[in-house]
């Protein structure tokens, strides 16, 4: 019998952790001599007060959904994929190669090809650490960290020496052809009579991200491999005894994880920048960790957490613009969320468990 009812585990504990993280963030804002209430107001109007703000919030959220799902799938197999950053970087390379190789006539043709390109490159970058973990027992956390750096160096090399057009100074690829430009939410919503900001970068990949949430849910809880993956995550000896191959599960979990991280590139590289630049991922791979922890590795939780972080990102950008609070505030909030929902989970959980135990005892006596 569990100590806590399910709703307390799924909703109460994350919300309390989140509140603690936000309370400390407010103290940080106070400590640097700013007004937290005014800051929250700026963030809300900036991120949610207009379709322009929403457009940015959803654009960031799209990135975080992909990287959050990537971390979640690996978590279900008890693997910690800290390499989402590198996998998304390489995914960007895949997307760019697809977009630049053909003069695409229409985005509807370019998008599926780019999705494949991003996923394959992202999965390939996860494949080596996965293989080393499965076959040689090399710790996947360390290898994926190393692969983040190797990936960035590789991209730096490819951009400066191969993809950079002649006569251009900054390390970036050429612009993608017109036919590879994805429709934004403005283009999608205008025909049905909803006016949406033209300048905001949210685009059709948001819908693909939502679809990815559904597919990941189906995969984890409605397929045989998904079951094996969860069984492996709960108990490795148990899974092996049931005839589940650890090598197979580790490879599948990491390939899907890397592929999802790579898919992110269709949003930021193809949908927004429309060319490949050096630091296109901008830490989204790491935010995936916070998103997955907060969303309790459930696709719906990941979706909500990604929207929250999208809001924080856009709100943080507005703060940097209107109040003299640097953008790094979001990094602090992100760190606190990871700390309290991840590492200090027991600190929040233990008192609540005690509370529920006491309640049950008094009920039994009374």
């Amino acid at each position: 019998m569990d100590v806590m009812p399910r709703w307390a585990d799924v909703i109460l504990v994350p919300i309390i952790s989140l509140l603690i993280a936000f309370a400390i963030s407010a103290l940080v804002i106070l400590a640097i001599g700013q007004d937290p209430v005014a800051a929250v107001k700026i963030m809300i109007t900036g991120a949610l007060g207009s379709t322009y703000g929403w457009g940015y919030t959803l654009y960031y959220a799209t990135n975080f959904i992909f990287t959050g799902l990537a971390v979640s799938i690996a978590f279900h197999a008890k693997l910690f994929n800290i390499g989402g950053e590198g996998q998304a970087t390489l995914g960007g390379l895949g997307v760019a190669l697809v977009c630049l190789s053909v003069d695409w006539p229409h985005w509807a043709l370019a998008l599926p090809a780019a999705l494949v390109g991003g996923a394959v490159f992202g999965a390939a970058w996860a494949a080596i650490p996965a293989y080393l973990q499965a076959k040689r027992g090399s710790h996947i956390v360390i290898t994926t960290i190393m692969f983040n750096f190797i990936g960035l160096a590789l991209l730096n090399y490819v951009l400066t020496n191969i993809l950079r057009p002649q006569g251009q100074m900054d390390p970036a690829s050429a612009r993608f052809p017109e036919g590879a430009n994805l429709p934004t939410l403005h283009d999608i919503l205008a025909p049905i009579g909803i006016s949406f900001s033209k300048a905001a970068p949210a685009n059709i990949t948001f819908i693909i991200a939502v679809l990815a949430c559904v597919l990941v849910w189906l995969f984890i809880w409605r397929t045989r491999v998904g079951y094996e993956l969860r069984a492996f995550g709960h108990s490795q000896p148990g899974a092996v005894y049931a005839g589940i191959s650890p090598v197979k599960i580790t490879m599948i979990a990491m390939l899907i994880s890397g592929g999802l991280a790579g898919l992110m590139a269709t949003n930021n590289v193809m949908g927004e920048a429309e060319r490949l630049v050096l630091n296109s991922v901008e830490g989204a791979g790491f935010i995936g960790i916070a998103v997955a922890l907060m969303g309790r590795s459930h696709p719906f939780g990941v979706f909500l957490a990604a929207i929250l972080f999208g809001f924080l990102y856009q709100g943080g950008a507005e703060l940097a613009l209107w109040a003299s609070i640097p953008r790094e505030l979001i990094v602090v909030i992100q760190a606190l969320v990871i700390l309290f929902t991840g590492a200090l989970d027991n600190m929040v959980r233990m008192p609540i468990q005690k509370l529920f135990l006491a309640l049950r005892r008094s009920k039994a006596e009374g």
Binding site: V28, I32, G33, F80, I82, I128, L132, R136, G137, S138, H139, V141, I142, T143, I145, M146, F147, F149, I150, A153, L154, N156, Y157, N161, F286, I289, L293, S324, I325, P326, E328, L329, I330, V331, V332, I333, Q334, A335, L336, I338, L339, G342, A343, L344, D345, N346, M347, M350
Partner: protein, 322 residues
């Protein structure tokens, strides 16, 4: 390549290897006691900022060093609280600490100095100046040995020599004292240590504290000796290279020295790609030189060149039997 260029490259190798070495030894103490620490980067960064900030405001680099060590130890304490007391995931705690340091340093620097997330440049006593070893000036014209002594061995800041002394120091502490034996035991088999009536929690906190001190010195070195002031993200992945060096050295102090010197050499060569090109007769992209530490570590981890076996109880919180 002439002799003097070689000396210069080796000189910058020592300079660049020092922060790696200190951070690597820091990780060594922590991981030998069974606490994984991927937060070395964050602790160094926090220490770099606070030592530069305090050194600038007080004008004394030694107070700066103390402040840096204090900041790093505070983060160590947080790591200990999360991973020892509350038995949380040590890797996640490390990730959180890295982000916390990355964000807070810029936030505080901006509200304190208003220079876009950096500290003002340090001058005079607010910096660790190079030390000239005895007779270095007099001997610099002796052929061969003179330049080695004058350029390579002399003329570093005191923290470089402290870092080098930390290697035999760590070896002695870990392998020749009772504390060291217990510390290593707690990373391999905490239950046995507990049965002997020694506090697992106390030992692990001690290890994490030593880790904090060493990371603090490493960070202070970056901002007050290697460079003159703090800039945003100035650790630039050194904490992760130190982690790589730790695996490369298979968690042993003397090997850590050589691993860090090797990785320092790679960093020094990346700065002088013209020299590399003239020696090897082919152009080596500096991106490759920069990522070689990571690539080498993956190869070592893969077990193709010897096997790197971490401490057995690493990454697991100790739960006393109930």
């Amino acid at each position: 390549m002439d002799f003097l260029t070689l000396i210069q490259i080796l000189d910058s190798t020592v300079r660049l290897a020092t922060p790696l070495l200190l951070a690597c030894l820091a990780g060594l103490f922590s991981e030998r006691a069974g606490i994984f620490d991927i937060g070395l980067e964050g602790k160094m960064l926090a220490a770099a900022f606070f030592s530069a900030a305090i050194a600038f405001t007080t004008g004394s680099v030694w107070l700066g060093l103390l402040a840096g060590i204090g900041a790093s130890m505070a983060l160590s304490g947080l790591h200990g609280l999360a991973s020892i007391t509350f038995r949380g995931n040590q890797l996640i705690s490390g990730v959180a600490i890295n982000f916390l340091a990355s964000g807070l340093t810029v936030l505080i620097a901006q509200s304190w100095f208003k220079q876009g997330g950096r500290t003002p440049s340090l001058i005079g006593n607010a910096r660790f100046e190079p030390i000239t070893l005895p007779f270095a000036e007099a001997l610099q014209n002796v052929p061969f040995l003179g330049p080695i002594y004058y350029e390579l061995l002399s003329g570093h800041s005191i923290l470089v020599y402290i870092a080098m002394l930390c290697v035999p120091g760590s070896w002695y502490l870990l392998y020749r004292t009772r504390f060291g034996l217990r510390l290593r035991a707690v990373g391999e088999n905490p239950a046995a240590v507990d049965t002997a009536g020694i506090s697992v929690i106390g030992l692990r906190f001690a290890a994490v504290a030593i880790c904090g001190i060493l990371c603090g010195i490493a960070g202070a070195y970056l901002s007050t000796a290697l460079q003159a002031g703090f800039v945003k993200e100035m650790t630039a992945g050194r904490g992760y290279i130190a982690l790589a060096a730790l695996i490369f050295a298979k968690w042993r102090p003397w090997h850590a020295l050589f691993a860090c010197l090797l990785f320092g050499l790679l960093q020094a060569l990346a700065l002088r790609s013209d020299v590399v090109e003239s020696v090897l007769q082919v152009s080596v992209p500096d991106q490759l030189l920069n990522s070689l530490p990571y690539i080498l570590t993956v190869i070592i981890l893969a077990g193709f060149v010897g096997k790197a076996i971490p401490p057995r109880a690493g990454g697991e919180a100790y739960v006393k039997e109930r």
